[in-house]
């Protein structure tokens, strides 16, 4: 504060903690100090940045203010501590001095999109980095993806293989240069190079960078598929305006339906195909450079093969000079999907690409800057007025999330997360670091990455956990690993219920203080391990950080075939209809329906026997499975989903196309109280099914039905949440779980609750799906620990 700054007098020692090394922080300090006519020095040490400075008291105060306001773009200041020095400083000027060694406690920044200055240089024929694909500076470029150890110095990155040339060395050592101590500094003379390989042809690689680029561009324009080694892994690229090329890519990659991300040169190109708001434009152009999900209703249309059944497209900017050069030369949007076979993590290594991508890509645009850490593109979508991270990876990880008041004294905690959107969380000193999204742990490569990253984050943050946390699910590989490590190191392990973690994670990132009053948490997702022998996924919890009470849930319905019911929506449809009115009663009344006949061809007798005998048929109060059932009812992938949440996403798209109807058309849900389940309230979709079937009978169309379902579910959820909040004297509702990545549902529930005067919080900085669970686990454990 100003008062505190005024007390510093004419000499001060200032410590800056956070992500402040390798991001051009010292040159900024130097510039500000010089402008304020201060003397002294700045240096990096194990704690961050240390400044000793002297001059006029008001100049020092102003300097301190400007330090936060004018910090370089990639700096993340967590804390500034300043104290007055007793004696004036004996110095003539302000200097940047050599770093002090010591145990590292500083951060590694996230990878950042090419900055305006570097972009201009690369495109300027008079610059020495003209057309150089690896230009970067302290304000941009690779960070986390090239780090092999800490502190973040060139020898600890994959740039260690490239000795600086004299020109780069000069820039590196010049404080006034924006490449001063830019650890990844490079130019065509000394740095990484690109070349082009032709799979399936016995020809030498194209070594000349300009020729390699030109041939890549020509191939892309001719409909070829090119593997491109990028920042965090390989992409597979093809012309996004060429339906046949996209289809070929899908076939070769065996990815038959999942939407493909698109890269566009600039926002003007995006605007041809999508509506884009000001907020969305800012996200598209941000240093984090995520894939931004946009409504696909621009003046021109891209081929339907990009995102079959959906009405949105994911666009990202060319976030490295290499991508920029390719995109500008091609002049068309490019598909940029992760370079792998379906269901596997993207390839990062040259040899991996040569073996695993050779049957998918025609050509490979390679480079020789090794990727130390695989990291996917992040995905963001604006929903209920806020940019929501759907997948948190490149550009965001390993950035810290500041925890709300009360968590300052939390002990070091490591939370292992869930299973399919694996991400872990390290928590210490009032900040939490959520690892990048890593995918399905059952995939060997993903699991090995996950283990490697556990070590890497521990190093980066010098983190030695005193407490481990895992989900209640006994079969999660993350749970098993946590159990093993706890036994090995003699550490305590806490298990946290899945949906409590969803709610707590959202509370933490939305800033609810440790001792804030309880909230009503609504966790809607696929499946999480419950405490009553059933699987949960439609939960209403009276919760604080320490604990929860389950007040209500969706009515549990059989999941015939367990995991098979997740892949085959018809199973959920049948189970729902059977639970709602009985199959016989349903066929008696609605036997003429086409869907009824389709279901009739399934092995229903076997399913009946499974349900009756309890054979691999867990009960689940899952919202995700209800979405699947409704999707199947209107003919959206009833037989099989080809990627996770496909049915729900297509159902949402159908509803969005139709537009939300009036409140009167919303499908009704019933409520009942279950005495044997501790007075638990069940939200029962049974009445909805009759209305839905009647709509099918009068050929209402999938969009109308989908919309009425969305509205009905949202209204029922909001109403129940409101009633429960009144009963529990709670004024805040927290919405989390993967189903709230559904924009219609989130917006409708939020609007409804806010109109009833409740405060409504939902995930912004962390994914609402299982990618955010680890944060919740960590804060629940921390809260328990802190109140003991």
């Amino acid at each position: 504060s100003d008062a505190a700054a005024a007390e510093l007098g004419d000499a001060a020692e200032i410590r800056v903690i956070g992500t402040v090394q390798g991001v051009g922080f010292r040159p900024t300090v130097w510039r500000l100090a010089t402008e304020e006519r201060l003397v002294g020095e700045v240096l990096n040490d194990s704690e961050g940045v240390l400044i000793r400075t002297g001059g006029a008291a008001e100049s020092i105060a102003r300097f301190l203010r400007r330090l936060s306001a004018e910090a370089p773009p990639l700096a993340r200041i967590e804390r500034i501590e300043a104290r007055g020095l007793p004696a004036p400083l004996l110095a003539e000027s302000f200097e940047i001095v050599a770093s002090l060694a010591g145990a590292p406690r500083t951060r590694v920044a996230a990878d950042a999109a090419v900055c305006g200055a570097c972009r201009a240089e690369v495109l300027d024929p008079s610059e020495r980095r003209h057309n150089y694909a690896f230009a970067n500076c302290t304000h941009c470029g690779p960070r986390f993806s090239i780090v092999t150890a800490v502190p973040y110095d060139r020898p600890h990155t994959t740039m260690s293989a490239f000795p600086m040339c004299a020109g780069c060395r000069e820039e590196y050592e010049q404080p006034a240069d924006r490449r001063f101590h830019a650890q990844a500094i490079a130019c065509a003379e000394c740095g990484p190079q690109i070349w082009l390989e032709r799979f399936g042809e016995q020809r030498d690689p194209v070594r000349d960078p300009d020729a390699a680029l030109a041939q890549t561009v020509a191939a892309l324009r001719a409909g070829k598929i090119v593997a491109i080694r990028g920042l965090g892994g390989f992409h597979l690229a093809c012309d996004a305006t060429d339906g046949a090329a996209i289809q070929r890519l899908r076939e070769r990659k065996r990815r038959d339906a999942k939407p493909l991300a698109v890269m566009a040169t600039d926002v003007e190109m995006v605007r041809r195909y999508c509506r884009i708001t000001e907020l969305e434009q800012r996200l598209f152009e941000a240093v984090e450079a995520p894939i931004v999900i946009l409504a696909a209703d621009g003046p021109e249309a891209l081929p339907a093969e990009l995102a079959p059944g959906l009405d949105a497209l994911g666009f990202m900017q060319p976030y490295t000079p290499l991508h920029l050069l390719v995109l500008r030369a091609v002049g068309r949007p490019l598909v940029m999907t992760s370079g792998n076979l379906a269901h596997e993590p993207q390839v990062t290594e040259l040899d991996g690409a040569r073996t695993e991508l050779r049957d998918i890509a025609d050509l490979a645009l390679m480079h020789d800057r090794e990727i130390a850490n695989r990291i996917d593109d992040s995905v963001v979508r604006v929903s209920a007025g806020q940019p929501r991270l759907l997948r948190r990876a490149r550009g965001y990880a390993p950035g810290a999330i500041r925890l709300p008041p009360g968590f300052e004294q939390a002990p070091p905690i490591l939370a292992y997360g869930a299973e399919q959107k694996a991400a872990f969380c390290v928590l210490a000193e009032g900040a939490a670091v959520l690892s990048q999204h890593q995918g399905d742990l059952e995939e060997l490569c993903t699991y090995e990455d996950y283990c490697k990253n556990l070590g890497l984050y521990a190093d980066i943050y010098d983190h030695r956990p005193q407490l481990l946390v895992a989900d209640l699910h006994p079969e999660y590989l993350s749970t098993k690993l946590a159990l093993e490590v706890a036994a090995e190191r003699g550490l305590p392990l806490r298990r946290v219920q899945h949906h409590h973690a969803h709610i707590a994670g959202c509370m933490a990132e939305r800033g609810l203080a440790l001792h804030a009053p309880a909230v009503l948490g609504v966790a809607l997702d696929g499946l999480g391990f419950g405490t009553d022998g059933t699987i949960w996924g439609g939960e209403f919890l009276l919760a604080d950080y320490r604990g929860y009470q389950r007040l209500a849930s969706l009515a549990p319905v059989a999941m015939p075939g367990g995991v098979k019911a997740v892949r085959e929506p018809w199973r959920n449809l049948y189970a729902q209809l059977r639970a709602a009115m009985g199959w016989e009663a349903f066929t008696r009344r609605f036997g003429a329906l086409e869907g009824c006949a389709d279901l009739g061809h399934k092995p229903l007798a076997v399913i009946d026997r499974m349900i009756e005998a309890g054979l691999n048929t867990p009960l689940a109060s899952s919202t995700g499975r209800l979405f699947d059932a409704v999707a199947a009812a209107v003919g959206i992938c009833p037989d099989r989903v080809r990627y996770q949440a496909q049915a729900a996403m297509e159902l949402e798209a159908a509803a969005a196309r139709a537009g939300l109807p009036s409140r009167a058309e919303a499908y009704p849900f019933a409520r009942r109280r279950e005495a044997e389940a501790g007075e638990l309230i069940r939200l029962d979709p049974a009445p909805m099914w009759t209305r839905l079937a009647e709509d099918l009978e009068r050929n209402a169309g999938p969009g109308t039905i989908a919309a009425r379902f969305h509205l009905g579910l949202a209204a029922a959820v909001a109403e129940l949440a409101f009633d429960l909040s009144q009963g529990s004297r709670v004024d805040t509702v927290v919405l989390s779980g993967g189903c709230f990545q559904n924009k219609l549902l989130l917006e409708q529930v939020t609007r409804d609750l806010e109109s009833r005067g409740l405060r409504c919080l939902s995930n912004v900085d962390t994914p609402a799906n299982d990618g955010g669970v680890a944060l919740g686990q960590a804060v629940v454990a921390a809260a328990t620990q802190l109140s003991e």
């Binding site: 065996r254 299973e419 399919q420 060997l444 699910h473 098993k480 007798a605």
Partner: protein, 334 residues
């Protein structure tokens, strides 16, 4: 034999039933214990093997077998996988009052017939009849003594990199049969339990491949569980190929329908063998020459990578971790 708590008439009847069925020399005197000559045992090898297992299965009869056959094969196989020649078994039955006499007769006959096939004698036993509700129809315990061939050295810690992993035929038949029978699924095609005594097969294998490292019957927990035991026991990695794992189409279809992973289904006539690479061909030939091994196949190999882990290359080319299950097969997807 001691009297149980149930009706004396029923008890005596069942006692007689089993004594008749198992009639043999050591059993004949009906003493409190069976007695054998050490010299006679020593002809078979140099170490004794001794095991016991209790059998509870529902339903008691199923296609391909019943609880009696299971009780003989299970104990015979437990001896055989240790390299032993199974010789003598004990048999203790606990019967719920009211179980049908016909059923008991069938079970006794089935045990006797299986014992004959397995070349073992049931030399001592016990019967208890308990009140209704005190047990579920029929429980059987068998214990067995076998003699381990001289020179045979098998151990879960002996697998080495490059060794091959072999199974003696299609997997999951027994588990699928039981589930099918239990749920009364009324499938078009029938599935049969693979329940069989495997001492002959294992004898042939050890003859052909004397450096075989380890053999285990893939019973509860299935192939996946055994492979994990080997990986952990020997601190090695095991890599298998999904495309190589033999599973009957009808079992595969059954698993598809029920959403079960066949790698975890129980078997009662299947072994997992770890054999030295240079003996693999001989091992396969010997196994295939035996009726219980004609579909034997190498499904993977041992590596020094990832000690303790079992990894499967899927038919799509992905690589999946195959872990043991803590409980039931529960979906992990959110």
């Amino acid at each position: 034999m001691a009297h149980g708590g149930g009706g004396k008439a029923m008890h005596d009847f069942i006692d007689d039933l089993f004594v008749d069925a198992f009639y043999n020399e050591p059993l004949a005197p009906l003493e409190d214990q069976a007695r054998f000559s050490i010299d006679a045992l020593a002809r078979y090898g140099d170490r004794l093997a001794f095991t016991t297992d209790s059998y509870v299965v529902s339903p008691l009869e199923f296609p391909g077998g019943d609880i009696g056959k299971l009780a003989i094969c299970g104990t015979v196989n437990d001896l055989a996988v240790g390299g032993a020649t199974p010789l003598y078994l004990s048999c203790a039955v606990i019967v719920e009052e009211g179980v049908s006499v016909d059923l008991m007769r069938k079970v006794a006959r089935s045990m006797a017939a299986t014992a004959v096939e397995a070349g073992v004698e049931v030399v001592t036993g016990d019967t208890k009849v308990v009140e209704r509700g005190a047990c579920d129809k029929l429980f059987i315990n068998t214990a067995g003594i076998g003699v381990i061939r001289a020179g045979v050295k098998l151990g879960v810690e002996l697998a080495q990199p490059d060794d091959l992993v072999i199974v003696n035929g299609v997997l999951g038949d027994h588990g699928a049969t039981i589930l099918n029978a239990r749920g009364d699924m009324k499938l078009d095609t029938e599935i049969f339990s693979d329940c069989a005594p495997l001492h002959g097969l294992i004898g042939a294998l050890l003859e052909a491949a004397p450096n075989t490292r380890f053999i285990r019957d893939a019973t509860r927990g299935g192939l996946a569980t055994v492979l994990n035991e080997i990986a952990r026991g020997s601190e090695v990695g095991i890599e298998i190929r999904e495309g190589q794992i033999p599973i009957r189409a009808v079992v595969r279809g059954f698993c598809e329908l029920l959403g079960l992973d066949p790698l975890y289904l129980a078997n009662e006539g299947k072994i997992v063998c770890v054999v030295a690479k240079d003996e693999a061909e001989a091992a396969l030939a010997a196994l295939r020459a035996h009726p219980y091994g004609k579909d034997s196949v190498a499904i993977g190999h041992v590596t020094d990578e990832r000690p303790g882990r079992v990894v499967m290359t899927t038919v799509l080319g992905g690589r999946r971790i195959v872990d043991t299950l803590v409980g039931e097969q529960l979906p992990r997807i959110c």
